[in-house]
Amino acid sequence: MSEILRVEGIDVFYDDFQAVQQASFTVNKGEIVSLIGTNGAGKTTLMRAIGGVLPISAGKVWYDGQDITGMMPHKIVDLGVSYVPEGRHLFNRMSVKDNLIMGSYMPRARKNAKANLEKVYELFPILKEKAEQAAGALSGGQQQMVAIGRALMGEPRVVCFDEIALGLAPTIIKDIYARVRELNAEGMTLILVEQDVRRSLKQSQRAYVMLKGKVVLEGDSRSLTEEEVSKAYFGM
């Protein structure tokens, strides 16, 4: 298995406060990797830094053999690394369809925008029904589908989903995870940021645990035990 993303000892600060310390992890092509941690562990900060939205103070990020540390966010997405942000961050005043079309903003994705839009509608049929509604008026689950669909419109190779289950009903979570597995079966590499230990071990092949800004445990999701992960998770 070949490596597609490698993060080497990165530090990220909010002003004086260090939210990520010497974090390292790797993701291989075609894998599902989960990143687990409690509230405030630094998962979102780490992902936003990889996506170029936050500055990286030390360390390196490599994507497909290329150094992408410090690149502008729009360049990083264009290379194929997409981040579905925590809290969805939809364009609330725009229609569902316009949100999805914005996902194909990059010139390389525009060519296939029509076909990709149909694919997203196939994946989440409800979005076709709601196409003309303002994204901000949708239910939480539907908004999450728009956020995922919008990322897919950009034809990414690696996608990071930041807490896609947050605040959703169990049946909807199940449904969304089923879609996520389909994407992976088609060859997409995925990073799942999660707070739920059991769910993330079940859905992924490998897992990393973060605590207070550091990566404190890593391993095969199957061989890691829930106790082991919980201990690292709570820092006991």
Binding site: H74, F91, D98
Partner: protein, 286 residues
């Protein structure tokens, strides 16, 4: 209704179409880049002077737009990229200070190169009118200004709705980080938004220069009109801007007819104050 009242209603509405175009660029920058462009009126007048330069060769102000519009786009784009983008995200004051400074610079450069003399962009259309019945006449130039004002609003509305760049500009104003995450270079989106705002200032400015006289220091009175249109229409709403322009133009001209034409400007300011007190979010904002 007497003919003079009908006449002033017509003129108010025609004026309003142009006012809407005057406010459009200001509203757009307010809503999207979140900058209060205190130099908006001065850029409008700058467009008049650029047109005046080309009048030396072309002698038709409307035709000079072929040059004035792209030049103004370039000025707006460069100004955003080289100055304003540097201070984005550092609070409201720095961009306010920059645009205030630009206002002073533009006024003084115009004064230096063109003197303080009154100017007008001469057009044969100024004296023509269409008569409607016995005592009501529609001034042709005002009619054209109004049509052009409304047209640029509609074209901009379609552009923002249907093109990738238009959507990207709206998306950036909705959620800057999310826009970056779908691949928008927000600095260039801001640059293009400012360029487009300056294009609207160019067109409305040239028509203003055909209808009224202007001096290097006339800019601020159009800034106030633009500001009134933004306040009445609500921030960043393109069609709200159109309605606001019409309302403001109508109120000013008809008010002037009732109270006396010398109070026309004052009436405008009073309306602006009343709006700021009663409905600062604008008439068309939820």
């Amino acid at each position: 209704m007497d003919a003079a009242l009908i006449q002033s209603i017509i003129q108010g509405l025609l004026m309003g179409g142009l006012y809407a175009a005057v406010g459009l660029g200001m509203s757009m920058i307010f809503g999207i880049v979140r900058i209060t462009n205190l130099a908006h009126g001065d850029f409008l007048i700058l467009a008049c002077y650029i047109s005046l330069i080309f009048m030396g060769v072309i002698n038709n102000p409307i035709v000079t737009l072929v040059f004035v519009v792209p030049i103004m786009f370039f000025i707006g784009f460069s100004m955003q990229r080289s100055l304003l983008n540097r201070v984005i995200g550092r609070g409201d004051e720095p961009p306010l200070l920059i645009t205030f400074g630009l206002s002073i610079i533009v006024q003084n450069l115009l004064l230096y190169f063109f003197t303080a003399d009154a100017q007008r962009l001469h057009s044969n259309l100024l004296l023509e009118s269409i008569s409607l019945g016995e005592r009501v006449r529609i001034p042709v130039l005002w009619l054209i200004s109004c049509i052009v004002g409304v047209a640029i609003i509609l074209v901009l509305g379609l552009y923002m709705k249907n093109t990738y760049m238009g959507r990207a500009i709206r998306a950036t104003s909705d959620d800057t980080e999310a826009a970056q995450l779908v691949g928008v270079n927000i600095k260039s989106a801001y640059g293009i938004a400012m360029g487009i705002a300056m294009m609207t200032a160019a067109v409305s400015g040239v028509f203003i220069g055909m209808v009224f006289t202007f001096y290097p220091s006339t800019g601020p009175s159009y800034l106030i009109i633009a500001f009134a249109v933004v306040v009445i229409g609500g921030i960043g709403s393109i069609y709200g801007t159109l309605a606001a322009g019409l309302i403001f133009g109508l109120a000013q001209v008809v008010g002037g007819y009732i109270v006396g034409p010398q109070y026309q400007q004052l009436i405008g300011y009073v309306i602006l104050l009343i709006m700021l007190v009663l409905r600062p979010q604008g008439l068309f904002q939820r």
